[in-house]
Amino acid sequence: MTIPPHPPTPPPAQPAPQRVVIRSADVGARRVGVRGRAFDERSEYRDVLLHSLIRAQFGLTLGFIALTVGALISLPLVVSLMPWLARKHVLGLPFSLAVLGVAVYPVLVLIGLAYTKLAERTERHFLDLVDKL
């Protein structure tokens, strides 16, 4: 049995046990009418637009992976080059504990917040672009 490429909306309350391909119904789609039509009508632009969006988002993702790698993954290398660091105390805690046990978590959250902001901005720009077309 194959999934049809575009399954219908899952039927509401279906008592009989039957196979339901569970896919997203779009909760929270706003201003659907105008923009949705605009995007579909200009189907000659559609693929180009979509690929530019994917490229922009993927570039953002790669940038942030590089940032994370720089911030975290360089640490083992630094310490193995400078082993005396491990015997230092930072704010009353052994170096490893201060860095890997405490400081790392706010850094992760900040990276996540910054990415979310920029990803949402990319989407907003994309929507503006589609509106202008």
Binding site: T2, I3, P5, H6, P7, T9, P10, P12, A13, Q14, P15, A16, P17, Q18, V20, I22, R23, S24, D26, V27, G28, A29, R30, R31, V32, G36, R37, D40, R46, D47, L50, L53, I54, Q57, F58, I65, T68, L72, I73, P76, P83, A86, R87, G92, L93, P94, F95, S96, L97, L100, G101, V104, Y105, L108, V109, G112, L113, T116, A119, E123
Partner: protein, 576 residues
């Protein structure tokens, strides 16, 4: 004994809450959709708490502190990786996966690449990872009841398996979802309260002796009670008061322990004088302070390569999270792609707060209860430290609190895993409805129970780390390439899944049976992610390049589904 009974009551209360709320879910559960995934559109904070509640397993609650105590602060890479995995999930898959609307990994695989055979292969790895991840939960339960009540190991394993299986078979996920969010807060409270109290009691964590190049020392005369017989290594001769069987002789009084190995029987007590260095179980390494505080992974690999082991663990944990089958289901309950991103950031915060605390137990355990090195039961440090440091009734109450938190951890994670495993069996393999799901839950629970009885000797985090390595070597490349790479085909996907899955599993099984205990083999087999993950990516890319005709004809509409913001979507789920 009173401590045991307070703890027992706390464990029973947590278990009852889980079962009652799970039972309430039965009445609400009507449609298959309802039964498997709680109604969609859960607000981000609650959803994030549910994800964190489900994610923080026995490995996080007990295992992290135990591993830190045993192998040193380099093991902090485990919790860092468990949290950073969500950052990778956020960057690579969160929003597109939610927009695609797939609710299991096999759903995504077939939906994106359109091949039923790929769905079956993916389902097999969902089962492998799910069951593998169930093992440390069951081991944790066995260990907890053993420490608290002195029951044999199998009792805790059986109790957890029966409670969770019957709960799932009766209530489905509705109840579970509801409990998961609450359980995050239970777990946080259960680990934070004792940790803070213990810091105050111990007068802070700042101790020069932590980093001093010397083994840990008994600060006061200390009684070490041996629950399971153990062979241990004495580095400096010491005279102890012994009661029970030591080196096959029954002793009841002073005993000179010479340098070398000794065997002590279950039920024996050894009283060490103040100031004597703590012996360590033969299975552990002697670690002086300067190696214990190293921020690199050096888990017992004799002549190991700490830098390579550290990077391999980083690859496994950073990339394994996004391939865990029970986590993806949770993203389906977000309102839309944006909410999925926000939820993930909150999860990062919630996990970060939780992971501040396990290290406290490890540091204080090394300073104040080094007898754990002798018994080798380092995984129990969170459970025993409150009693060891606080000898009055408050110590018992804090002990009961951590026991309850630990059980909450086993219950929530194993419930989520069992739902995923049973769901994969019922829907992806057997194509059945709710009744099939129930039968599969019973079967999956039974298989887990049998397997759980076999893993007593493995560290909790070792088991979980292996599970992450398999997930990172299979589903991580499938999801990442499926979302971002246009040329992926189902043939390439199967090639990568099989190659990554088989090599990582084989490496881990070889380590479990004891092949390659030193040098490079111990690193490359014990922490295989560093080579199996790239291998899986390469196999997927080469396999896809060789079969360009298999690129799905509706690729553009799949990409649209993955990446188009909700505001641009027509009302129907697909853009026909």
């Amino acid at each position: 004994m009173s401590g045991g009974s307070i703890a027992l009551i706390a464990v029973i209360v947590v278990t009852l809450i889980t079962m009652v709320v799970g039972a309430l879910g039965i009445r609400i559960a009507r449609t298959p959709d309802d039964f498997l995934v709680a109604a969609r559109a859960v607000p981000p904070l609650r959803n994030a708490a549910a994800i964190s509640g489900e994610y923080l397993s026995a490995a996080s609650f007990l295992g992290v502190a135990g591993l830190l105590l045993k192998d040193g602060l380099g093991m902090l890479w485990y919790p860092v990786g468990y949290a950073a995995g969500y950052l990778m999930l956020l960057l690579l898959v969160a929003a597109p996966l939610r927009r695609f609307g797939a609710y299991t990994i096999p759903d995504f695989a077939e939906g994106r690449l359109g091949a039923p055979r790929l769905r079956q292969v993916a389902t097999i790895f969902v089962l492998v990872i799910g069951w593998f991840y169930l093992l440390p939960q069951l081991k944790g339960a066995g260990l907890t009841l053993q420490v608290l009540l002195g029951t044999p190991y199998w009792v805790g394993v059986a109790v957890l398996a029966v409670v969770v299986t019957s709960n799932i078979a009766a209530g489905g996920m509705k109840g579970v979802t509801f409990v998961q969010a609450v359980q995050y807060w239970i777990k946080l409270m259960a680990i934070a309260t004792p940790a803070i109290v213990l810091i105050v009691v111990a007068g802070g964590l700042h101790r020069a002796e932590l980093t001093r190049p010397a083994p840990p020392v008994f600060n006061t005369a200390t009684t070490v009670k041996v629950q399971t017989s153990v062979t241990f290594v004495v580095d400096a001769p010491v005279i102890v008061q012994a009661h029970g069987g030591v080196d096959n002789v029954r002793v009841d009084g002073p005993l000179a322990l010479t340098a070398g190995t000794h065997r002590v029987d279950a039920g024996a007590d050894l009283v060490f004088p103040a100031g004597s260095p703590a012996p360590h179980a033969e299975s552990l390494r002697s670690q002086d302070g300067s190696s214990w505080v190293s921020p690199l992974v050096n888990a017992g690999h004799r002549g190991g390569h700490p830098l390579a082991a550290t990077y391999s663990l980083i690859v496994a944990t950073f990339l394994g999270t996004l391939g865990l089958p029970h986590i993806l289901v949770r993203f389906y309950t977000n309102r839309n792609g944006r909410a999925a991103r926000r939820t993930t950031v909150i999860v990062l915060g919630l996990l970060g707060v939780f992971y501040l605390f396990p290290a406290v137990f490890a540091v204080l355990g090394r300073l104040r209860d080094p007898g754990l090195y002798l018994t080798g039961q380092t995984d129990s440090v969170v459970l025993v430290l409150p009693h060891a440091l606080i000898t009055n009734v408050w110590g018992e109450i804090l002990g009961a609190l951590v026991a309850a938190g630990a059980f909450a951890a086993f219950l929530s994670t194993s419930s989520g895993l069992l739902v995923s495993v049973a769901g994969a069996m019922a829907h992806d393999l057997l194509r059945g409805g709710v009744r099939t799901f129930r039968r599969c839950a019973l079967l999956a629970g039974a298989i887990g129970l049998v397997a759980g009885l076999q893993v007593q000797r493995f560290d909790l985090n070792l088991l979980v780390g292996w599970c992450f390595a398999i997930a990172a070597s299979t589903f991580c490349p499938l999801l990442v390439l499926g979302i971002w790479w246009r040329s992926l085909t189902w043939v390439g996907a199967i090639a990568g899944l099989v190659l990554g899955g088989v090599t990582s599993s084989a490496a881990i099984i070889m380590t479990m049976v004891g092949v390659g205990n030193s040098g490079w083999p111990s690193v490359l087999l014990g922490q295989p992610a560093i080579w199996t993950v790239p291998l899986a990516f390469v196999a997927m890319i080469i396999g896809s390049r060789l079969t360009p005709t298999q690129i799905p004809a509706d690729l553009e509409s799949k990409l649209l589904q993955l990446h188009l913001p909700e505001a641009l979507r027509p009302m129907a789920p697909a853009t026909d």
